[in-house]
């Protein structure tokens, strides 16, 4: 037993990542190619936002929590304003609701695109990566146009939004969506019809429905495993109950289903944005802020379906101008632990895409190093791990008789 233990190789993945709220450090215990155990360590970038929030005014907190995440930066203020409005019993105007949903869905589109591009890169489809970046750019331009920022839009405030979307800007947004659809079709085709991606992703490291429920997983990850949950539909807020769209689910929970769910969700996001833009046209301009002054004592719970799943905020007020307790739970907090059981169903060359399929941020995986436990010698670096993953795809292609 002792001998066995010595031979075990540990692959550390991480620890630091500057983009996501939860930089992760994965320790892969491997035996040859096979992953046997996974240890997750987080907390390298713990900033104590919950504590900071207790020292800020209710209005400032919306902008503070926006800094939790760079990719889904609007999710946290969205859930936070939902929580405070739940606490104070505020009902915002329809125009506000539409604008909030538009910003939320634009963000989902760019987040899913970003994920898709990186997933492509990991399994050796760098063309997909480049195409995605091209498709994502007009989206960010529109974001900058309507909010002033490409990231960290600072659109949300209690009782409203910071800026109106003028009716004259709507055609520009519709044009952007028209231009985006052919790209999503392209990606859908690239994923659904490509035999190599199918061979590379189908049946790899699946998360079963029972496991998803046990781990309380949320978002596209849970939906890919057949857990039919989506806060936008289940507990409608903003304009999600006012427009027509549907929740995408799959059954197998493998990498392939996780890709498919995210690609198909993009169509729904486009549908929601179109519905909201049509709704905006009927609402009078300028009616987008209730100018809330006081927050009463009480408790409020706010939720938002972020690109990665349900964001949960709990706010308690004692009637002063600051929250006395502000609890935040990001979706990755419940999604990342699922790697403990999915990663051990695969090999090292699947690890990059498996850990990635949860949609944490990627630099963690970029910083992989394989270290032999005996000698402490570095065997593989982060780029080697991606190379390994890409080589597996190449070999598969060769076996299938596809030339590059």
């Amino acid at each position: 037993m002792e001998e066995e233990k010595k031979k075990q190789t540990v692959i550390p993945i991480g620890p630091y990542h500057p983009l996501q709220e939860e930089p992760e450090f994965f320790k892969l215990f491997v035996n040859g190619e096979k992953v046997e155990k996974l240890d997750i360590e987080i907390g390298y970038n713990h900033r104590g936002i919950e504590k900071i929030s207790e020292s800020k005014h209710f209005d400032q907190v919306a902008f503070t929590v926006e800094r939790i995440c760079g990719i889904c930066s609007t999710s946290h203020p969205f859930a936070y304003v939902n929580a405070v409005e739940d606490l104070a019993g505020i009902e915002v105007t329809d125009r506000t609701k539409y604008i909030r949903s538009i910003v939320g869905e634009l963000e989902r589109l760019h987040s899913h695109l970003l994920w898709l591009g990186l997933a492509g890169h990991f399994i050796g489809y760098n063309t997909v990566w480049m195409w995605v970046w091209k498709a994502r750019e007009p989206l960010l331009d529109v974001m900058e146009y309507i909010t002033g920022n490409r990231q960290h839009y600072s659109m949300f405030k209690i009782g409203g939004v910071r800026l109106d979307i003028l009716n004259e800007d709507i055609p520009r947004m519709e044009k952007m969506l028209d231009g985006l659809l052919p790209y999503i079709d392209l990606f859908k085709g690239a994923v659904m019809d490509d035999p190599v991606i199918q061979a590379r992703a189908k049946g790899i490291c699946p998360l079963t429905k029972k496991e998803a429920i046990d781990f309380c997983a949320v978002g596209p990850l849970a939906r890919a495993s057949g857990v039919d949950i989506d806060i936008r539909r289940d507990n409608p807020y903003a304009a999600y109950g006012m427009v027509d769209w549907k929740v995408i689910t799959a059954v197998n929970g493998d990498i392939f289903d996780k890709i498919v769910v995210r690609v198909l969700e993009m169509y729904e996001s486009v549908k929601i944005i179109r519905g909201c833009l049509n709704g905006l046209k009927k609402e009078p301009e300028g009616n987008f802020d209730l100018k809330i002054k006081n927050i009463p004592a009480g408790e409020g719970i706010g939720r938002h379906e972020a690109p990665r799943g349900e964001v949960f905020h709990f706010v308690r007020s004692d009637g002063s101008n600051r929250p006395v307790r502000h609890k935040i739970r990001a979706p990755s907090y419940v999604n990342v632990p699922t790697n403990e059981i999915t990663a051990i169903k695969g090999t090292i060359s699947d690890a990059a895409i498996t850990l990635g399929a949860v949609d944490p941020c990627y630099c963690c995986t970029e910083r992989c190093v394989v270290i032999d436990k005996n000698t402490n010698k570095k065997i593989l670096g982060g780029s080697d791990l991606i190379k390994l993953s890409q080589e597996k795809t190449r070999e598969l292609k060769k076996k299938m008789g596809i030339t590059e």
Binding site: D86, C216, I229, G300, R303, F314, R329, Y333, V334
Partner: protein, 144 residues
Amino acid sequence: MESIIEKAREKLGNKVKNYFKKNEKRHYLEINPHDIIECTKIMFNGLESRFITATGVHLRTGFEIMYHFSYDKTGEVITLRVYLNEKDKPEIDSITPLIRGAEWIEREIWEMLGINFKNHPNMKRLLLAEDWPEGKYPLRQTEK
């Protein structure tokens, strides 16, 4: 879809000490700390609601933990509230043996507020650094 709260109150029976309805979708139930395992079983296994997370709060009289459960078919959030009237060494049973998804949050509450979760399978630090001093809990009101 029928609301779940009546069913939950019926199943929890006299374990519920206090019920507060914030609105149609938000319910708060106060229970005794020693009932937490029973109540979690009813909420998670019996009613098949999803465990969202738990919130720990430091009060003048001790500690408070709120276990938030989501019933996704109706979009209701049911919060089980527990008061621990112990100022120095608060303790409660861990629900991680029942719900794997509770492992991280219990570890977080343990290191942030110093509440011990009995029978937790993997109690070690989650977020704080290794060199953080023992017995110093950042989310207690005594810390500035």
